[in-house]
Symmetry: C2
Subunit: 320 residues, 2 copies
């Protein structure tokens, strides 16, 4: 996927926005900066503990806007329905979208619906695109990352991926794991309101924490050091990962992000995040160590040090 994107699609449309390798393009409209992003949602199953495809479709796009430092304002919603998808399920998904939009303070202002024949889809696919307003003068993105930056994580990792796996495989754990799907515009607004020198934000979706941090190291051309002991993983999630043979560092999240902030702002940023319910479990997990080599090093619980590699296989398909 990452390879397909990198090798084929990005070069086909090459321009300065795609070159920024960011979740959203930041565009100038008569002197006002807007962010613009899109994602299609094909999660299987469409309903899972803690949410459904509608919750994801709103929160995911809200989060891509928030990660560019924009305040999410308007969303589009486009549905591809497979013939026979139950009207009651569609109604439930629409209700989830409405509720999620209300929570994030966005309006769904335009849309589309297509129906494909039975066997040519999978119940429901949703695309949302979003527009947000950039209301500050920071340049938030991988190219603003600097040596010395504090690397912050907004909460514990792995919940969404494990919730999906459990729903898919019919697994039961001692405690049900709910997806962490949530809008991240609030925690980001808290950082900005506190005047934190935010350099880069990235939500930890497909590929999890590891992939997000590696992508940033590569795009920013820096070395990043993480400390495994500081990365929170719920014990039930940890146990499920062990049973399933997964590394929580690579498991998808839908309500967690990393923030790279100026080295003097680490504590202030943590305080701002922790004061918001969507990032109450925020913690510092590492430091940008310098320009080159562009790689991520993890200091493990037993004190060893290893390079974090981009996951090479397909770990969890259709997680969002």
């Amino acid at each position: 996927m990452h390879q397909l994107l990198g090798r084929l699609i990005v070069p086909a449309f090459r321009n300065r926005y795609l070159d920024a390798q960011h979740d959203a393009a930041v565009l100038d409209v008569g002197g006002v900066r807007i962010a613009f992003t899109t994602d299609s949602y094909v999660v299987r199953p469409a309903f899972f503990p803690g949410g459904d495809i509608g919750t994801l479709a709103v929160n995911g796009t809200v989060n891509d806007l928030a990660m560019s430092g924009a305040r999410p304002v308007w969303l589009s919603a486009a549905f591809i329905l497979e013939e026979g998808f139950p009207i009651e399920s569609l109604r439930a998904v629409l209700g989830s979208m409405q509720a999620a939009a209300r929570t994030a303070g966005v309006e769904i202002v335009t849309g589309d619906t297509k129906v494909v024949d039975h066997g040519k889809g999978d119940g429901i696919f949703i695309n949302t695109a979003g527009i947000g307003l950039v209301e500050h003068s920071l340049e938030i993105g991988p190219l603003s990352v600097r040596a010395g930056d504090a690397v912050l994580l907004s909460g514990d990792i792995g919940r969404h991926g494990i919730a999906i796996m459990a729903a898919r495989e019919g697994l039961g754990f001692e405690t049900e794991i709910l997806s962490d799907t949530a809008p991240l515009d609030g925690p980001v607004a808290a950082l900005l309101a506190a005047g934190v020198d935010v350099h880069c934000l990235r939500d930890l979706t497909r590929g999890g924490l590891a992939s997000a941090v590696i992508e940033i190291a590569e795009a920013a051309n820096v070395a990043i050091g993480l400390d495994e002991r500081s990365i929170p993983v719920d014990t039930v999630v940890q146990g499920a990962c062990e049973v399933l043979g997964l590394d929580p560092m690579y498991v998808a999240n839908e309500g967690r992000f990393v923030a790279f902030v100026g080295e003097r702002d680490g504590e202030r940023a943590l305080a701002a995040l922790r004061a918001h319910p969507g990032a109450a479990g925020a913690c510092r997990i590492g430091t940008v160590q310098g320009a080159r080599p562009r790689q991520v090093t993890l200091r493990t619980a037993i004190g060893a040090s290893r390079i974090v590699e981009m996951f090479s296989g397909e770990q969890l398909p259709r997680i969002c």
Copy 2:
């Protein structure tokens, strides 16, 4: 489809933008008006005479922006690929998108790719969302339609639908019918540059000319009279429609639109349209007859008069 949208999805997200029942939402960004729209493309087959799903995905969204009177500027592109979709086909689609974007003068600035398992998609689905700039002070939309307005059509109808049907059913006609897929921002810009008092624009996609005009009559609460003899249909398209049992009034187009303009501006608007290669065959096809009854009447070739009904069955699924 129209019913599903009307009954379920629009009320779920009810707001002033969706209530305008327009192809795009017009939004205010710091005093600048932008248009925002989305469409998913699921056309079958993905390659057809005159274009492919990539051409459609760019032109269709460009046209939705143009129909709101906006100059299309930025597009997103999101792909849902079925496992096994040939890389060479993807490359061809990307090439078509690039070419269409260049022609329409838009940039594809953000994107997404998802892969679904074999049997859970149909080769390739594409969603494009678009942003355009509204650079005039007109309110273009059904609510601006007035009694006396001239109804103009930008060219002959039915080519796209027949091209798709021919490709799908392996039909051969004496002359190959090519899809009319084309960007409509140029003809719209020509109307605006000529200072025409443009009231409403609508491209004639799914459901064709008849559905577009009926939708406008209903949204604007007016009666509209059309003259069948003035509606151009290519003789090969007409013949194909007869063989296939289709009425060209209901067949999809991807490069044609109707313009409702102030009654004194009809001739000037026609001149402006005809001077543009994308609307060289423009002609006047009718008049808005007054407030109520909100229906469309067609004066037929033999001089009779009949009410144009919304097509009730599913005529041509997956036409775009």
